[in-house]
């Protein structure tokens, strides 16, 4: 129970950092997955899933009114759920658990994005109250009103993480004992395909101009040289 509570709080903090407060990148899937892994005592699972989530959501930008996938809570759901499932299903191959957690948390990335839109619509009512407080010169109430928005963002993160974790744990406990051995060999090919997605995502960001092709090729050669010298 204490572990579930830790995961849920980590989800709330991640949600805050994604847009409402700080934005110091602790909400990045790679960071929050590794930190969740560290909290639950399994950094390797955090690193493997965090890398995959970071590749998928590395290009999503929280700009203006855009609806961006909620990688902040999904990273915590996936990693936390995977580690708890591994602990509760010791006989099941770890790769099957990782694949199942990946699928469910990717889905929660989309569901989380919808809840962000809903929360932002709810925040519109705060503006009406803010106008009233400003007219009455109640500055402290106006400040409190803004902080309500921050708290709502934290609560949204907690609710999404809790529901995601619930779905992941219940479905994992039902499915994995029966299909675990069948799903297990699929994880490595899935991992390779998601790695390959990274090329499309990062090249779309950095190799937009013809002048960037030269540093891109230099990077290719550099990595090939490192691999040749067994340094990669």
């Amino acid at each position: 129970m204490a572990e579930i509570l830790k995961i849920i709080i980590a989800g709330g903090i991640s949600s805050l950092d994604s847009t409402a407060a700080w934005q110091v990148m602790i909400s990045q899937p790679l960071v929050n997955a590794v930190v969740t892994g560290l909290i639950l005592g399994d950094v390797t699972t955090g690193a493997v899933l965090g890398t995959l989530f970071q590749i998928v959501w590395g290009g999503s930008l929280p700009v203006g009114a855009s609806a961006f996938p909620d990688g902040a809570t999904a990273g915590v759901i996936g990693t936390g759920g995977a580690i708890l499932l591994k602990k509760n299903l010791p006989g099941i191959d770890g790769n099957a658990v990782l694949l199942w957690s990946l699928l469910i948390s990717l889905g929660f990335g989309i569901i989380g994005a919808r809840t962000v839109i809903y929360m932002r619509r709810m925040n519109e009512s705060l503006m009406r109250r803010a106008d009233e407080f400003a007219r009455e010169g109640k500055v402290a109430s106006l400040e409190l009103l803004h902080l309500v928005g921050v708290v709502v963002s934290f609560v949204r993160g907690i609710l999404v993480t809790a529901s995601g974790l619930l779905v992941l744990l219940i479905s994992g406990l039902a499915v994995l004992p029966k299909l675990g051995s069948t799903l297990s060999p699929a994880f490595q090919p899935v991992q390779i395909v998601i790695w390959s997605m990274g090329i499309s995502i990062f090249c779309a960001i950095f190799v937009r101009k013809k002048s960037r092709i030269v540093p891109f090729v230099l990077g290719l050669v550099f990595a090939a040289c490192l691999a040749w010298g067994h340094l990669l």
């Binding site: 990148m25 990045q28 959501w57 400003a134 060999p185 899935v190 390959s196 691999a227």
Partner: protein, 276 residues
């Protein structure tokens, strides 16, 4: 200066620190308006001599506002300066102030989004991914956080003071390091790391055998087509590819003599029945 009221450096620092919560009440109607007003409260308290002045100050800054959250500190600093100037009677009128805020929010929005969201954030992520994939998990996480937050905190905390010093000329400031020049050089570094990523992960995929290399190239082509043509978002593409590969592996398992009937009888059928 009316009653000698002047913004202090501590007020600016407080406003800068409050700007970390700029987007706390973000909404589709006026976007960061309440956050902007919240950040300016220490300045408002310093400059307002009466409740009427305070009311007027707060109402002026509850209008539509949206910019890049990091570069918002420049807008906050410049607005504090213009509010201070108004006390001596040489400042802008209400309408001019609203127009000024609108123009600087667009300017800092485009500069900041390009630098922080479009370049620095994916670059830090790429650096982190490359290090973690080498097995340096903690180094990857630390590099991701440090490479992003050093410029992030520099612009955030310096911005409020630079914006105040520059006032109306705030768009001409940006610290010793121009954000546009920084974007350009970080973009080139990102292209280099993109090349490194491509080769490194291709070799990791190919390291699992020829099937891995084919899968890697196939996945890259399919995702490139879907993402480039904007047919689907990255999350949807990842879900589709994950499901497709999982089904492919399941079929391969059945075709190569895996226990297909056993899987149906003991695995899938009872689950479907239970859910039905």
């Amino acid at each position: 200066m009316k009653g000698g009221r002047k913004v202090r450096r501590t007020d600016l620092l407080l406003a800068g620190l409050r700007a970390f919560y700029l987007q706390g009440s973000w909404n589709y109607e006026r976007m960061q308006a309440l956050g902007f007003c919240f950040s300016l409260v220490p300045v408002a308290r310093r400059l307002s001599g009466s409740k009427a002045e305070l009311v007027s100050f707060m109402r002026r800054h509850l209008g539509f506002f949206n910019t890049n959250p990091v570069m918002a500190s420049y807008a906050i600093g410049a607005t504090a300066r213009l509010e201070e100037d108004r006390l001596s009677g040489k400042g802008l009128s209400d309408e001019e102030l609203v127009r000024f805020k609108g123009s600087i929010s667009s300017f800092f929005g485009s500069v900041g989004d390009e630098l922080f969201w479009g370049t620095l954030r994916p670059l830090s992520a790429l650096l982190g991914i490359l290090l973690v994939s080498r097995g340096d998990t903690f180094a990857g996480v630390v590099f991701l956080l440090v490479s992003y937050n050093v410029p992030h905190l520099y612009y955030r905390l310096r911005g409020v003071f630079s914006g105040y010093d520059a006032g109306l000329a705030v768009t001409k400031t940006g610290g010793r390091i121009s954000p546009l020049a920084l974007s350009k050089w970080l973009g080139i570094t990102g292209a280099f790391l993109g090349g490194t990523y491509t080769a490194a992960f291709f070799l990791m995929g190919a390291g699992t055998g020829s099937k891995g290399a084919i899968l890697f190239l196939g996945g890259a082509l399919v995702s490139y087509y879907l993402l480039r043509k904007r047919i689907l978002g990255a999350t949807a593409v990842a879900i589709i590819l994950t499901l497709a590969v999982t089904l492919l592996v399941l079929f391969a398992c059945i075709l190569t003599g895996g226990d297909a009937l056993g899987l149906l009888r003991h695995g899938i059928a009872p689950l479907l029945l239970r859910w039905a």
